[in-house]
């Protein structure tokens, strides 16, 4: 049986390798998709794990997550994968960067259950006189999409990076109308 929430979590593997000098590896894909039929507040856990790396020069693995929440008549994409030639100007919903050492590396994991939203006031002095934190730890949505993009610059033949990245989503309060009709399509009964 496929549970209704099977698309609320998703993981993908990124494998970048090169047999020639100089490769700007980029990839992107979809991780999760929710069609909840009603608005909810969604908690999230983003993670990225370098499974192994073999690099001739220091390299940076850049992992980005993008979110499309929608409620009623409104939806918006928070961050666009590689929409800028200057990657640093692109603000994803969440971002992890791994500094990969020369030689063999791996088994490093980064995760988060909250993100820092964009600076609200570009004209404010830096650092601001009054701190204006913009920590986001939930997303209002009835429809929710999460996608990823990953990038790494490999320099010499034989360089390789393998990573896993994913997202887990769950509503703050999960009471399903189905339960009122005594239907348990996710086999929720008997949980231990």
């Amino acid at each position: 049986m496929i549970h209704p929430w099977h698309m609320w979590g998703g993981a993908a593997q990124v494998t970048a390798s090169t047999s020639s000098a100089g490769l700007n590896y980029r990839t992107q894909g979809q991780l999760a998709r929710i069609e909840y039929k009603r608005p909810e507040s969604w908690r999230f856990l983003f993670y990225a794990k370098v499974l192994r790396s073999q690099t001739s020069n220091p390299a940076i693995l850049d992992v980005q997550f993008f979110v499309i929440p929608g409620v009623g008549r409104a939806s918006t994409q928070l961050g666009t994968p590689f929409d800028s030639t200057v990657l640093n100007l692109n603000i994803p919903f969440e971002r992890f960067r791994f500094l990969l050492p020369i030689g063999t590396g791996g088994a490093v994991t980064k995760w988060s259950t909250s993100v820092n939203g964009p600076v609200r006031d570009d004209t404010a002095v830096v650092p601001p006189v009054v701190p204006t934190p913009n920590v986001v730890d939930s997303i209002p949505a009835q429809d929710l999409q999460v996608s990823y993009a990953a990038q790494v610059q490999l320099t010499l033949p034989g360089d390789e990076v393998q990573a896993e990245l994913g997202v887990l989503l769950a509503p703050w309060h999960h009471a399903r109308p189905d339960w009122q009709a005594h239907k348990f399509v996710g086999e929720e009964l008997g949980g231990k």
Binding site: Q28, Q30, I68, H182
Partner: protein, 133 residues
């Protein structure tokens, strides 16, 4: 739900969700094309058993295609960038065919108890009759 994370995929039945770009989600690889390329490159070792395609969500996003496939010989490396394929336990599994678990309404419970009492009463009468013989 178990997923396969190693290449080559062992023989067996799997399913995966593929996503294709739309005007509201244009910046992504077409998972259906990547998957089809993999199945074509592994013709004879991979067999697509069923697919279900869902429309674009009302508020935008990629199109989802659910695919159940069978590995019948060691295939080339699966493109795990699509996500990890789930190990399928049911050949008739479907993305939409989940049968709801239904518990009886309160009235049904009473009816069930009443039915059981009726059965017990009949058994008791039969037992009493057997004692009198």
């Amino acid at each position: 739900m178990a997923v396969a994370k190693t290449n080559p995929l062992p023989n067996g039945l799997y399913w995966i969700d593929l996503f294709s770009p739309t005007s509201s989600a244009p910046n992504m690889k077409d998972g259906a094309i990547v998957f089809t390329s993999w199945t074509k490159a592994n013709a004879g070792r991979v067999k697509v058993r069923r697919t279900e395609t869902f429309p674009e969500p009302l508020l935008g996003g990629p199109i989802r295609t659910w695919v159940q496939f069978e590995v019948i010989g060691p295939p080339g490396a699966f493109p795990f960038g699509l996500g990890y394929p789930s190990i399928s336990t049911d050949p008739n599994e479907s993305a939409t065919s989940a049968e709801p678990v239904v518990i009886p309404e309160f009235g049904d419970w009473l009816q069930g108890i009443a039915g059981n009492l009726e059965g017990l009463a009949i058994l008791f009468v039969l037992w009493e009759l057997s004692k009198k013989r």
